[in-house]
């Protein structure tokens, strides 16, 4: 459904990186980790289309929904310019989220803002009493945007930065290779495509545990109608296209054909 949601907070987390919180109790109640929203960034015809943003967390009690985003173009720039009290037109929650289990052990591998949907996942996994280890990589320590909140969730987490300014020096996949993957029920991952691909290779080497990845693709409708957000996956009779918005954004890593 679409909502005209009031913006409650808008906070700069790092250079070009913001967290926006809005009041939408229905979304807060029904959202699942891994799901996303389609957000209108302008009232005019430019930019035209909605922008997909992952749900970073929700607050049932206060009816709030949070997203974390990076300004990369004009849509996100307009979003960053929006002030408190203004209304935001959001459509969602959309898509199929991560598999949620109880009493398990899980590894979460996040690259950059891939942490947004994964944070929500970690929160829920912890609430369900699971054991979670987080591997979190970013360019530098300022870009490790949700570490304080993660610490608040009392999960084990290790960080990697390209320049070594926090934690391991290198990518999060390098870190994982160095540290070794603990025995887990599911590996969850989100981040830029090269990172996900490298992770896939590493996991194949170590015997491919069950892995779920959250993918991104340019979107038209966000609701499964336009076939715009195609991702190539293994079908029963060879490669087929699935829709990131409706069949995902969470896919089994084994299913995805990286090109």
């Amino acid at each position: 459904m679409t909502y005209e949601a009031e913006i409650v907070t808008q906070k700069k987390l790092a250079t070009d990186c913001y967290r926006l919180e809005f009041y939408a109790p229905e979304i807060a109640l029904s959202a699942q980790p891994g799901q996303f929203l389609m957000v209108k960034t302008s009232l005019t015809l430019d930019p035209l289309l909605r922008r997909p943003l992952s749900i970073q967390s929700v607050d049932h009690a206060r009816g709030l929904v949070k997203v974390v985003y990076r300004v990369v173009g004009k849509g996100t720039a307009l979003l960053a310019a929006k002030k408190l009290g203004r209304r935001l037109n959001v459509l969602g929650p959309l898509g199929r989220g991560f598999t949620m289990l109880t009493n398990g052990k899980f590894a979460v591998v996040a690259g950059g803002l891939g942490m947004a949907p994964l944070y929500f996942l970690v929160q829920r996994l912890k609430a369900l009493g699971n054991e979670v280890t987080v591997f979190y990589g970013a360019q530098n320590r300022y870009q490790l945007v949700l570490v304080e909140q993660l610490a608040g969730l009392r999960v084990n987490y290790v960080t990697a930065t390209d320049n070594g300014s926090s934690g391991f020096k290198g990518t999060v996949v390098d870190l994982l290779r160095e540290k070794g993957l603990p025995p887990v029920d599911i590996v969850y991952a989100a981040g830029p495509p090269p990172m996900l691909r490298a992770l896939g290779e590493l996991l194949r080497e170590v015997g491919m545990p069950r892995t779920e990845v959250s993918l991104e693709e340019r979107m038209g409708c966000g609701i499964g109608a336009c076939q715009g957000c195609a991702v190539k996956v293994h079908g029963t009779e060879g490669p087929v296209y699935k829709r990131v918005c409706a069949d995902g954004p969470v896919f089994s890593a084994e299913e995805v054909i990286w090109e």
Partner: protein
């Protein structure tokens, strides 16, 4: 008095003139969370080919100023799935269904149209803007003779069912091509399909779309669409389903004034999945506010000489 939104489109009575543009509304069911499908004038489903089609490599969509490019490439589950599953599902819900037909040969158009007519659709829309393998990759609709041949074949396949020929504006004069289709048995026209376009990813120094080129839709093309509707209405006076960039009630009225009897909403659905129903209600309010008794009062009204 409540204004009358009913329109008669090539003999079909539609409760209102708001349809969906093929390829932007899936098979209708995707929009059920947002729209009561029965309220629509009709649902025009995604173009159907004989066999399932995979479509083009991603990325398939990108935004442009007040528009978007798509290179979906007619991905669809094929005739069998559509005639056996989607059409019955829609009919069961008492939705008016227009089936969009595509193909690589004239014969394929005929076969697909025949089976969809059998499945009980209310009208056929013939998408003659997809690559014609037989003619070396040119669109069927860029040439009057081929368009006439496709039209005649579909007409023969579906008997008296309304047949709308969907045209673009590239490759040939739209009035000439529409005229050829009319002579070959078209009931009316759907105007317009997307314009060709390309977008560049400056950082990667290559085209954004996996297929390099795509089809331009959205408000950016509305003036071109109004131009096409205006001209075809003026020269042929056959029923027209107008489309191209509709996002608000005023846009709907503009198409009606140019000569469209009905309109189809495409890219607008992506911006607001509930747009079609909002337009129906909005159109009713707009007519009431202006004291206009029915939609037909507006159709082609801008052509009156003053």
């Amino acid at each position: 008095m409540k204004p009358d939104l009913m329109v008669e489109l090539a003999g079909l009575k539609l409760s209102n003139p708001i349809l969906t543009a093929s390829g932007t509304f899936g098979f209708g069911l995707e929009y059920e969370p947002y729209v009561n499908l029965r309220e629509l004038g009709a649902v025009v489903i995604k173009s159907v080919t004989l066999n399932p089609r995979q479509g083009n490599p991603p990325p398939r969509v990108t935004e442009t100023p007040a528009g978007m490019l798509n290179s979906v490439g007619l991905q669809n589950p094929g005739l069998a799935a559509v005639s056996e599953y989607y059409v019955p599902e829609l009919k069961r819900r008492k939705v008016k269904v227009f089936a969009s037909v595509a193909g690589e040969t004239i014969e394929e158009y005929g076969r697909v149209a025949y089976s969809l007519a059998e499945a009980g659709v209310d009208a056929i829309e013939v998408n003659v803007s997809c690559p014609n393998v037989a003619a070396g990759g040119l669109a069927f609709g860029s040439d009057p003779d081929t368009t006439a041949a496709v039209t005649a074949r579909v007409r023969a396949a579906v008997g008296n069912l309304p047949v709308f020929i969907k045209l673009g504006v590239m490759g040939g004069d739209v009035v000439e091509i529409a005229g050829a289709a009319a002579a070959a048995g078209a009931s009316g026209f759907s105007l317009i399909n997307t314009l060709p376009g390309l977008a560049i990813d400056v950082r990667a120094r290559r085209p954004v779309l996996g297929n390099i080129t795509g089809g331009l839709s959205g408000p950016a093309i509305k003036p071109v669409a109004l131009w096409a509707v205006w001209r075809v209405y003026k020269e042929l006076r056959l029923p027209i389903i107008g489309m191209g960039g509709i996002t608000c009630v005023q846009d709907v009225i503009e198409f009606l004034l140019c000569g469209a009897t009905a309109v189809a909403v495409g890219t607008g659905n992506f911006i607001n999945p509930g747009l079609t129903v909002e337009l129906i209600n909005g159109l009713e309010r707009a007519l009431a506010a202006e004291g206009i008794s029915g939609v037909s009062e507006l159709v082609g009204a801008a052509h009156v000489e003053r």
